[in-house]
């Protein structure tokens, strides 16, 4: 018994040392060549890598390589990737996700998963292993497609003015426009807003009153409410195209019986704001209207001759061929009067395996509710 546990301890240390060595090699590479250029995984490298990893499932579990699929190894790898992620989550401006040690650990996790899936497959019993397979194969698929697979992803930003057609876009962080395989005509950009609100503000600090529990009144004609000891009525609300919203309000102080009234406006890119002073420090002001919904009516053309008319809005992208068009932004200075729309264009050929992995793990998580802590 003692000998067996000593043997186990030795394997554990061997595995630990191996993982440590690979991680240190990662640090060495990081030191010598710097940040990992993710583009090296682009097609066909990623598919070859995926096939190689999958082939690991056929390695004999007792062989030298096969032992790397053990549960001990997975625990070491999980601890290791957790530590790296804590660094990623604490230190601002780090680039751990594009570092060699992180990539190597990610690679070892995929290898560990492939090997352990292979071991289970050799002695597969549906009733015992279905939960294991959904979770582990699903995760494997997800890691491969979202990791090396994502090197094939392309994303660009495109600004289009109303009535114009654009086919050039800029990559992330790049300022040089590039000709893209698709073009967009913007027929119309439109925007709905939430009503702006009336707030009582301390001019010296900018704090909204009452402190800590600010209360705000919707700017609509006739709306009323209580802010601190002031009862406020919105007498008129006026918001014409291209003009800043403005409201005529009357505020009555409950204690002092004093009444103030006047125009307030949040202003816009060419009109100044105006506030209603009530004392040396306090004034009523209007908040900027927040966007509720912004929509672009577009036609998308691809080089292959696909022509697609549709509406793009946040949370509802438009698919054209293998590209997806997302509503990204607009001229925020002009707000609802914006005459341009900014789109994000994404080409993501691995999205199907990503979704397949997500669905498998999702089903796997359902099996966890069903089985609870029952051991296999």
């Amino acid at each position: 018994m003692a000998g067996k546990s000593k043997g186990k301890q030795e394997t554990f240390i061997r595995e630990l040392l191996f993982i440590l060595a690979v991680t240190i090699a990662g640090f060495a590479l990081q030191f010598v060549i710097g940040t990992l250029d993710f583009a090296i995984f682009a097609w066909p490298v990623n598919i070859v890598l995926a096939a190689t990893l999958l082939a690991l499932a056929f390695v004999k579990p007792d062989s030298f390589v096969g032992k790397f699929g053990s549960g001990r190894v997975s625990v070491i790898l999980l601890v290791s990737i957790t530590i790296m992620s804590v660094y990623m989550g604490l230190v601002p401006g780090n680039d751990v996700k594009h570092s060699w040690p992180f990539a190597f650990t990610y690679l070892m996790i995929m290898a560990n998963l492939a090997l352990t899936i292979g071991r289970r497959l050799r002695n597969f019993k549906l009733k015992r292993d279905y939960s294991f397979m959904l979770n582990h194969f699903g995760l494997f698929l997800l890691l491969v497609a979202a990791g090396p697979g994502s090197a094939d992803m392309q994303r660009y930003f495109m600004r289009v003015a109303e009535g114009q057609t654009e086919w050039r876009g800029e990559g992330e962080g790049s300022q040089t426009p590039k000709e893209l395989p698709l073009a967009i005509t913007l027929n119309d950009f439109s925007m709905e807003e939430y009503s702006p609100r009336i707030a009582l503000i301390d001019k010296t600090t900018g704090d909204t009153q009452p402190l800590g529990k600010p209360s705000l009144i919707e700017c609509e004609e006739g709306s009323e409410g209580l802010i601190s000891e002031w009862s406020v009525v919105v007498d008129t609300f006026d918001y014409r195209p291209r003009m800043a919203p403005r409201a005529y309000i009357t505020a009555t102080n409950k204690a002092g019986n004093s009444v103030v009234s006047g125009w307030v406006s949040c202003g816009n890119h060419f009109q100044p704001f105006s506030v209603l002073d009530i004392s040396g420090n306090l004034c009523f002001a209007m908040t900027f209207p927040e966007p509720k919904k912004f929509t672009s009516d577009v036609v998308v053309y691809t080089k292959k001759g696909v022509e697609k008319k549709g509406v793009v809005e946040v949370n509802s992208p438009l698919t054209a061929g293998s590209w997806k068009v997302y509503q990204y932004s607009y001229d925020t200075r002009a707000g609802r009067d914006s005459e341009i729309s900014v789109f994000e264009l994404v080409y993501d050929p691995w999205i199907i395996p990503v979704y397949a992995g997500i669905i498998l793990v999702m089903l796997g998580s359902l099996t966890l509710f069903w089985r609870g802590g029952k051991k296999e």
């Binding site: 546990s5 186990k8 554990f12 053990s70 549960g71 001990r72 997975s74 625990v75 070491i76 999980l78 601890v79 990737i81 957790t82 992620s85 804590v86 990623m88 989550g89 604490l90 230190v91 601002p92 401006g93 996700k97 979202a146 992803m153 994303r155 939430y194 909204t208 800590g212 529990k213 600010p214 209360s215 705000l216 927040e290 966007p291 509720k292 919904k293 912004f294 809005e313 946040v314 949370n315 509802s316 992208p317 997806k324 997302y326 994000e344 994404v346 999205i351 990503v354 997500i358 793990v361 999702m362 796997g364 998580s365 359902l366 099996t367 966890l368 509710f369 089985r371 609870g372 802590g373």
Partner: protein, 257 residues
């Protein structure tokens, strides 16, 4: 219905929950306790329902609103676990934790923003957040159970191991479901399912920590020693939920509303 009425509903629910839990301990018939606790749950749920109705969107956006759901779910989970395993202490604990969150909501509401920005207007919004909060509630219960098991002498943990494993497995299922729904939503809203945004990084750390616990037995870590991982993982969970916005990295986050 608005937040100003919250105090009455909250006070009513807490009184029902405390007296119900007390009845579980004192009364021979479990019926009284069950009735009181269920009444408290209904009252609290009624407030959420009415608030939802008056806001036109689910109250799941601000921190105060998520705490509101947590206050309810922690009691629901505690009660369901009590029904299954007959642990009265777990019921009592969940009522105490719920009280803490109710008090936080009364004293530091953080409830003033009610306009829903476009990225949040999605069918994934409600399931993503509720499933996460349900998971947090189960993990919270598991953490307390783990601390109690650790506090007891070795070998006297009783059925706690089974309870903890149940809570962690089920809670982990919810955790992963919440994360994956978030990924699908992110793809629809931002064009990418995973960007290592600070909130995502911490969600990943949380999930990985619980995975260490779930796999610990394969690394010859004894059940008792593995219990230490649970409170550690729960700290990660708390950072994910409440702490991220206070970290220096939060400025890079697209998850701050």
């Amino acid at each position: 219905m608005s937040w100003s009425e919250f105090i009455y509903f909250a006070a009513g629910s807490l009184i029902l929950w405390y007296s119900g839990t007390l009845a579980l301990y004192k009364s021979k018939k479990a019926m009284w306790g069950n009735l009181l606790i269920a009444g408290g749950i209904l009252l609290f749920a009624a407030f959420i329902g009415l608030l939802w109705g008056s806001m036109d969107h689910p109250p799941l956006r601000t921190m105060g609103e998520t705490r509101l759901w947590y206050s309810l779910f922690i009691v629901l989970v505690g009660y369901a676990t009590y029904l299954r395993w007959k642990y009265k202490w777990l019921m009592a604990y969940s009522v105490v934790v719920s009280t803490v969150f109710v008090l936080v909501n009364l004293l530091k509401p953080e409830i003033h923003t009610t306009n829903l920005m476009p990225a949040l207007q999605s069918i994934w919004f409600v399931p993503h957040v509720t499933v996460y909060i349900l998971s947090y509630a189960m993990m919270g219960a598991a953490t307390i159970a783990a601390l109690i098991a650790l506090w007891r002498e070795e070998g006297k943990e009783g059925e706690l191991f089974a309870l903890i494993d149940n809570l962690i497995f089920i809670g982990f299922g919810f955790l992963i479901a919440g994360m994956l729904m978030g990924a699908i939503w992110a793809k629809e809203a931002w064009g990418d399912y995973w960007t290592w945004d600070p909130k995502e990084v911490w969600a990943f750390i949380t999930a990985a920590s619980y995975l260490v616990y779930l796999h610990a037995s394969y690394a010859n870590i004894s059940k008792r020693k593995a219990l230490i991982i649970i409170p550690l993982a729960f700290i990660m969970l708390m950072i994910t939920w409440l702490g991220v916005e206070y970290l220096a990295v939060a400025q890079e986050s697209i998850h701050s509303y």
